[in-house]
C-alpha cells in the first residue's frame, strides 16, 4: 500500500489529515502498523489536553510491543476515536482510515511544514537499510 498523497507525515510514523473544520486527524502509518503487528489496545489522550509538538500523547499496544504516538504539531486535542477502544484491529485493517485523535493546531503553518508522502517514503526506505 502506498502512502496517500493527500496526507502529511512525521518521522515518528504518524499521518496527519487536514479536515474542513480546521482540525487535523492523526493516525499511524501503514509502515508503523506493519512493524508493530496485531493491535490489541489503543490509549488516546484526554480531550482538551494541550500538546507540544513531538509530545508523547497516545500509546498503541500490539501483541509484541507498546509504542508511543507523538503530537505532530502543537495544539489542543478536540476528539478521540472511541471506536478503537473495542476494535483496535482497525489500525491494522485500514491504517489511513483509523484516526486516533483530532487536534486543533496552534499554527496551521506547522501542519504545512510536515513531510509529504514522498519525503516520508524516503524515511521508510532509509530505515530498511
Amino acid at each position: 500500500m502506498s502512502n496517500p498523497s493527500n496526507l502529511k507525515y512525521t518521522a515518528s510514523h504518524e499521518w496527519v489529515r487536514s479536515e474542513a473544520d480546521g482540525t487535523i486527524s492523526i493516525g499511524i502509518t501503514q509502515h508503523a502498523q506493519e512493524l508493530l503487528g496485531d493491535m490489541v489496545f489503543v490509549e488516546t489522550p484526554a480531550v482538551g489536553r494541550k500538546l507540544k509538538a513531538k509530545e508523547e500523547c497516545a500509546v498503541v499496544e500490539s501483541v509484541k510491543a507498546a509504542a508511543d504516538v507523538y503530537a505532530p504539531v502543537a495544539g489542543e486535542v478536540t476528539a478521540v476515536n472511541s471506536e478503537l477502544d473495542s476494535a483496535p484491529e482497525k489500525i491494522n485493517d485500514a491504517p489511513y482510515a483509523a484516526w486516533m485523535f483530532k487536534m486543533k493546531p496552534d499554527n496551521a503553518a506547522d501542519v504545512a511544514a510536515l513531510m509529504d508522502a514522498a519525503a516520508y517514503q524516503a524515511v521508510v526506505d532509509s530505515e530498511a537499510h
Binding site: F41, E43, A46, E61, S62, V63, K64, A65, A66
Partner: protein
C-alpha cells in the same frame, strides 16, 4: 570469588564520569547510623559449632509476649499445612520464572491466587502481587494518576496508615504528584466529610478509602466511593483482605464500586516474622487492567487446544517497554502468594468468615473490659473491626513499657503519629486470643497504670 565483569579501569572511568570519588561514595546518602557493618556482639573466628550454640543461647532469650499490636501486621493462626505445602521443593523457589511458560505449576498457583483475591475484593482482575501494602498504595496512586490522565492530585485521608502515607510520599513526591491530607472527625474516628466536601469541584485524580481505617474504624465506603466518582476521580480501596470475608467487597462499594483495591496480604497466611516478608495485593476493574503494574497470569489454550497458563499483558512491562514501562516491579512475592493461595484454599470462604468474626468479637470483648479500667477511655464512636483506640490517663509510652514488663505487648503507640489524640494507643485482638488472654491484658493494663 564473586563474578564482577568490570575491570579496575572500567570502574575508575564510570566513577569519573559521574564525579564520584569511590564506590563507597555512592552510598553517602544512607545515614551513617543505619550502616551497621560490624557484628560487635559476635566474637571473631568462631566455628560453626560455636556459632550454632551462641545463636541457640541468644534465641532462648527471646521473650514470647502476649501480642495485642496490629497496626498493619496481624497475628492469626496459620494452619500447619500451609507452610508444609508452601515449602515443598516445587514451590519453595517461587521466584519470578524467567522461562515463564515452562513453569506451568507456578503460573497455575499464581492464577489461582489472582482468582481468589479478585473474588474476595469483588474486582475484575488481580496482578500476581506487589512487594507490600505500603508500596502497593504508592503503586495504586501512580496507577490512578496514569488512568485519570489530567489530574495529578490525590486525596489521602489521615485515617490511612501513617506508615503507608510516609512510603507513598517518598515514592510519588518526585513525580510531581500532590498528596492532599484529609483530616478525620475526632468523634467518629473516620474521614471528616465536611473537610472532604471542601475539595468538591477541584481537580482530583483519586480518593484513597481505607477500610477498616488505621484506627480499626469502618468508613462510610459507599458515600466516599460515590463522592469520588461524582468528582470524576478514581476510588482507591485500601483494605485488609481478611476483613473482606465479612465486610462489603470494594467492587460493590457505592453505585459503581471502587476502581482499584490494594493492601497488604500478610493476614492471609504470612507469619509476623518481625515485619516481613509480606506481600501486597492489587486488583482493579477491567477497564484499568492495562494500567496495572506487575505481572498478570492468564489462562489460555495451546496450539492443540489444551488449557495452559501464561504471562499476559506484558507489552508494557520493563523487559519490552524499558524506561517507559508501566512500573518496574520486576519480581513478585511469589512464595508469600503461594502460601496465601494455600491458606485461603484450606480455610475456605467459611473459615475466613469465622476468623474475621472471632477477631471482631474478641476486640469487642477487650474494648468492654479495658473501658472498665479507671481512667481508660475508648475513643471514636464508629463501628470497629478488630482494632480499637484507647486513651490512657498516663503517658502511653510508659504504660506500654509497663505492660511489656509483664509480658504483654499492649498496643501500638499513636502518640508520635497523632499527638492530637493525647496518650492514645491502638489495640488489636484477633481470633488467637482466649478469654484468659483478655483478662491478662486488662490485669497488665491496671498494673501499668498504678
Amino acid at each position: 570469588m564473586p563474578f564482577i565483569p568490570h575491570t579496575e579501569q572500567d570502574i575508575k572511568s564510570m566513577l569519573a564520569s559521574i564525579g564520584a570519588k569511590n564506590i563507597d561514595a555512592l552510598f553517602d546518602e544512607i545515614p551513617a547510623a543505619l550502616k551497621s557493618g560490624k557484628l560487635t556482639a559476635v566474637g571473631d573466628g568462631l566455628n560453626e559449632m560455636q556459632v550454632s550454640r551462641l545463636m541457640r543461647e541468644r534465641a532462648a532469650q527471646d521473650i514470647q509476649p502476649l501480642n495485642f499490636i496490629g497496626a498493619g501486621a496481624y497475628e492469626h493462626h496459620i494452619p500447619a499445612a500451609v507452610w508444609e505445602i508452601a515449602t515443598r521443593g516445587e514451590y519453595y523457589t517461587a521466584y519470578t520464572p524467567y522461562q515463564a511458560e515452562a513453569s506451568q505449576g507456578t503460573l497455575q498457583v499464581l492464577y489461582e491466587y489472582q482468582t481468589m483475591i479478585a473474588s474476595l475484593t469483588g474486582m475484575d482482575a488481580s496482578n500476581a502481587s506487589l512487594y507490600d501494602g505500603a508500596s502497593g498504595l504508592a503503586e495504586a496512586i501512580l496507577m490512578a494518576v496514569r488512568a485519570h490522565k489530567t489530574s495529578r492530585r490525590v486525596l489521602l485521608p489521615a485515617t490511612a496508615s501513617p506508615l503507608y502515607r510516609s512510603v507513598a510520599h517518598s515514592i510519588v513526591k518526585l513525580q510531581n504528584i500532590e498528596l492532599v491530607e484529609i483530616p478525620f472527625d475526632t468523634a467518629t474516628g473516620t474521614v471528616d466529610l465536611k473537610a472532604l466536601e471542601q475539595h468538591a469541584g477541584t481537580d482530583i485524580a483519586a480518593l484513597v478509602i481505607p477500610q477498616p481505617n488505621f484506627f480499626g474504624a469502618l468508613e462510610d465506603v459507599d458515600a466516599l466511593t460515590d463522592w469520588a466518582h461524582a468528582q470524576n476521580a478514581l476510588a482507591i480501596a485500601l483494605v485488609n483482605p481478611l476483613t473482606l470475608a465479612l465486610l462489603k467487597a470494594p467492587g460493590q462499594w457505592g453505585s459503581r464500586g471502587a476502581d482499584i483495591a490494594v493492601g497488604d496480604g500478610q493476614p492471609l497466611g504470612a507469619p509476623l516474622s518481625s515485619g516481613g516478608p509480606y506481600f501486597g495485593f492489587m486488583c482493579c476493574k477491567q477497564a484499568l487492567v492495562r494500567q496495572m503494574p506487575g505481572r498478570i497470569i492468564g489462562r489460555t489454550v495451546d496450539l492443540d487446544g489444551k488449557p495452559g497458563f501464561t504471562l499476559t499483558l506484558q507489552a508494557r512491562e520493563q523487559h519490552i517497554r524499558r524506561a517507559k514501562a508501566t512500573s518496574n516491579i520486576c519480581s513478585n512475592q511469589g512464595l508469600m502468594v503461594t502460601a496465601a493461595a494455600i491458606h485461603m484454599a484450606l480455610l475456605g470462604a467459611d473459615g475466613l468468615r469465622r476468623v474475621a468474626a472471632a477477631s471482631h468479637a474478641n476486640m469487642q470483648a477487650l474494648a468492654a473490659l479495658a473501658g472498665g479500667v479507671q481512667g481508660v477511655k475508648r475513643l471514636f464512636s464508629a463501628p470497629h473491626f478488630h482494632e480499637v483506640v484507647l486513651r490512657l490517663p498516663k503517658s502511653s509510652a510508659a504504660v506500654l513499657a509497663g505492660m511489656a514488663g509483664q509480658g504483654v505487648s499492649g498496643g501500638f503507640d499513636l502518640q508520635p503519629h497523632y499527638p492530637q489524640l493525647g496518650n492514645a494507643i491502638l489495640v488489636c485482638a484477633t481470633e488467637t486470643k482466649t478469654d484468659e488472654d483478655l483478662q491478662r491484658y486488662v490485669a497488665a493494663l491496671r498494673h501499668a497504670l498504678q
